[in-house]
């Protein structure tokens, strides 16, 4: 097997992976960097983020405000030292992107403009129209092209981490073009593989969001933390699940039920604010978990708007006017017309909650380090615990910048501490085992299961039992079915047994990742007998700080259900309180 020797291997070339690569290349030009991704960097799902990135920049704002919004928004499940680091580094990272050319929207005097966002007390969301993630991704990708030490391996699918004596020493990956497995000998590895929204049938996530990065670490013994917290974004198009950014409401759009009532006032987010004058942290600028939950209740009450794709609510932006919509929400208008046949300038757009983001992920400390020496993680695949039980919109683009860079700095500190390349024998043995596992899947015959069949059942299970509201009985059922699906997965036979760009194989491997992540979600959700943030139990409706102000940790087992354990939340100065989104009380 061909092997590639590198100082640092990065798995994933979206926002976090690119930011890490640039930080490594800038800080030490002598380092060799392998940037490995199953897609070309500009295809990474960071491109689909719309609304913007949060960072304190204006005079009326403060780091303390951003800290408090984030910690309260996360229902106090955030690690407060990590949030401190995030809010402190955020403005620097966003300015750095500006220096690299990111086309942020501007005020008339040339200063960077910011917009309001859900759950944020002040305007602090930097934006580039409604394609902020796209511009961040392309700015990072294009900037990365100037560094010759970043060697890209585009369309390589990472299959396993290699370890030696309890530390991470590289990985194996399949080169899609040839179908051949390659061995990467790395002194440190950074995983930046993105989220896993594709476990669900109705999601804003692109096809590539299959939890591969999470599964890599999980199978190597690193726990997945707080996986039960799955974010539903309130406003997706019912036809395709396409995201309509929270900036629609930040700019002043409102949500209506079938009677034309702005129903959020009935769920603790009132009083109703005047049309066209949004009030921060109130009504439509409440946090995503609360808004999605309110829709669920409206649906139960029969107040939803029926559409051919199921129940919806209405997102009314007409009062913003064509000029504002074209300037600030051009993508939203384009997609509403294209995929729903509705022009937001003239009509309210039907929307409904849609799976959007994983708060949970690879357990890391505040330095983006995992429990496996030499292994780091950042971005959506990681859980550094700045999002807690519910992420605030526009904190994730900031997170991938701040902790992408942090992972790079930590990896460098690790290298400087004397981390040597692993011995060839250990790496060769690990790679040979990975190769054998792949060959077994490729050559398996007489299998009775298909990728599409098992995947469909997984998605249905997640939709039915791991949605906005959950029950103990439903979650137990989901755990049993996912355990069974993991067993059946081992009986999948591929239709395509060739080498070149084999997407039947790729989808089988992705399904394996998703099944592992899905089981971690449902087992962690079953074990958490309380309601907090995005995890709502109809059988345990209150938050229970005495028993569950703790992070869940799911540990992988190859054939059995994961073991769920807990670790403490870091609380420095904000004690758990009431999340109040009912107007400004100061």
């Amino acid at each position: 097997m061909e092997s590639i020797r590198t100082d640092v291997a990065i798995v994933g070339a979206g926002g976090a992976g690119l930011r890490a690569a640039i930080a490594l290349a800038e800080t030490d030009p002598a380092l060799s960097i392998a940037l490995i991704s199953k897609v070309y960097p500009m295809r990474s799902h960071t491109c689909a983020a719309e609304g913007g990135a949060a960072g304190v920049i204006k005079a009326d704002d403060s780091l303390e405000h951003h800290f408090n919004d984030t910690v309260g928004g996360g229902d106090w499940l955030c690690d407060q030292d990590a949030v401190d680091y995030l809010v402190r580094e955020a403005p620097k990272e966003l300015i750095q992107l500006e220096h690299w050319g990111c086309p942020w929207n501007r005020e008339p005097n040339g200063a960077v403009a910011v917009r309001p966002f859900g759950g944020m007390k002040k305007q602090r969301t930097w934006f580039a129209a409604d394609k902020s993630g796209f511009h961040i991704l392309h700015t990072l990708f294009q900037t990365s092209l100037q560094f010759s030490s970043i060697r890209r391996f585009d369309e390589y699918y990472a299959t396993e981490l290699l370890t030696e004596e309890g530390r991470c020493a590289g990985l194996t990956a399949i080169e899609m073009r040839s179908g051949q497995m390659r061995r990467f000998d790395a002194r440190a590895v950074i995983i930046a593989g993105g989220g896993a929204g594709r476990m669900f049938p109705f999601t804003t996530n692109g096809a590539i969001k299959t939890g591969d990065g999470m599964a890599l670490a999980y199978r190597a013994g690193v726990p997945l933390k707080d996986m039960e917290f799955v974010q539903y974004h309130p406003t997706g198009l019912p036809s395709t699940g396409t995201l309509l950014t929270e900036a629609c409401r930040g700019e002043g759009g409102v949500l209506l039920n079938k009677n034309g009532r702005r129903f959020l006032q009935d769920y603790g987010m009132g009083p109703e604010t005047p049309l066209g004058h949004p009030v921060l942290k109130t009504m439509e600028l409440g946090p995503r978990d609360r808004v999605s939950q309110a829709f669920w209740h409206e649906q139960k009450k029969g107040n939803a708007v029926p559409t051919q794709w199921g129940d919806a609510m209405l997102l009314d932006m007409r009062h913003l006017g064509e000029k504002t919509i074209n300037e600030r929400l051009p993508l939203v208008r384009d997609m509403s017309i294209s995929y729903m046949g509705v022009d937001p300038v003239t009509d309210p757009v039907p929307v409904r909650p849609v799976v959007h983001y994983m708060m949970g992920g690879i357990h890391t400390d505040i330095k983006a380090a995992t429990l496996l020496p030499g292994l780091y993680a950042a971005g959506e695949c990681a859980c550094v615990s700045i999002n807690g039980a519910n992420r605030l919109g526009s904190n994730s683009l900031t997170e991938l910048l701040v902790f992408g860079r942090r992972a790079a700095l930590s990896a460098m500190e690790y290298l400087q501490s004397g981390a040597r390349p692993a011995g060839d024998a250990a790496l060769a043995a690990g790679a040979a085992a990975a190769q054998a596992r792949l060959r077994e899947l490729m050559q398996r015959s007489g299998g009775t299961e298909t990728v599409a069949g098992v995947r469909k059942e997984m998605m249905q299970t997640m939709e039915q039992h791991a949605g906005i509201y959950r029950s103990g009985a439903g979650l137990a059922e989901a755990c049993a079915r996912l355990g069974e699906l993991r067993r059946r997965y081992r009986g999948i036979e591929l239709h395509d047994k060739t080498n070149v760009y084999n997407t039947d194989l790729l989808q089988a491997l992705e399904l394996g990742s998703m099944l592992d992540c899905a089981e971690a979600v449902t087992q962690s959700a079953l074990a958490r007998k309380e309601s907090r943030g995005a995890h709502q139990r109809i059988d345990f409706t209150a938050r229970d700080d005495a028993n569950y102000l703790r992070h869940s940790l799911a540990y992988h087992h190859p054939t059995q259900a994961p073991r769920v354990d807990y670790c403490d939340v870091v609380i420095t100065r904000s004690q758990p309180g009431v999340r109040d989104y009912s107007g400004d009380h100061e």
Binding site: R43, C47, H99, G101, Y501, T503
Partner: protein, 247 residues
Amino acid sequence: MGERLVELEVLRYHPETDKEPRFQRYSVSCREEWVVLDALNHIKEAIDPTLSYRWSCHMAVCGSCGMMIDGEPKLACKAFLRDYQSVIRVEPLAHFPIERDLVTVIDDFMAKLARVKPYLIPKDAKTVEEGEYRQTPAELKRFKQYTLCINCMLCYAACPEYGLIPKYIGPAAIALAHRYNQDSRDGGRDQRQEEIAATEGAWDCSFVGACSEVCPEHVDPAAAIQQVKIKSMVDWYTEHLMPWLKK
């Protein structure tokens, strides 16, 4: 809810087993609102798992699913079945080698993109501590449309010059170079000009304008290329006829 039977004629090519490409026909029962990508996904899931193509976002921003649909370069996620007859021909993007089925080899574009230095080369370097560069909305507008390129390469598939002269740098790469040249924060035009104003650069363009017509993001690469030509002419005159103007 309307359903419609659509025949997809999909180009298949597998380098391990096929001497040359062939077409395979699939009958797909489609929902009225579907795009071509939905039909391909249905084929992959329910009819033929061996079909290979690239896709991800399904919202015309990741740029993965460019292909020829009835002979025109399109994003499959933005090609609505309602705009086509009952038989639709689907082929990989023209002017690129086929890797397999609808998957093309895009090494050439990736190399060209890197060559034009598509990154900010600051006019006045600044530290992060010194804060952001000021840039007025009018200054932003001078280059904003060229930032919208999603690298889908439809413009290369549409460009007759690229089909004839593979060395031509091509629309998207020139437009992205122009994007940085037009940025008020940038001072790197001279470095980029060596690539984009040379032969193989903008002068290879015969101004057919097909690139701008097919762009799904309404970028106007043809305009960028013409502006590069004009600037390079001015450069030439300044250097050869009025050398005293050159500092």
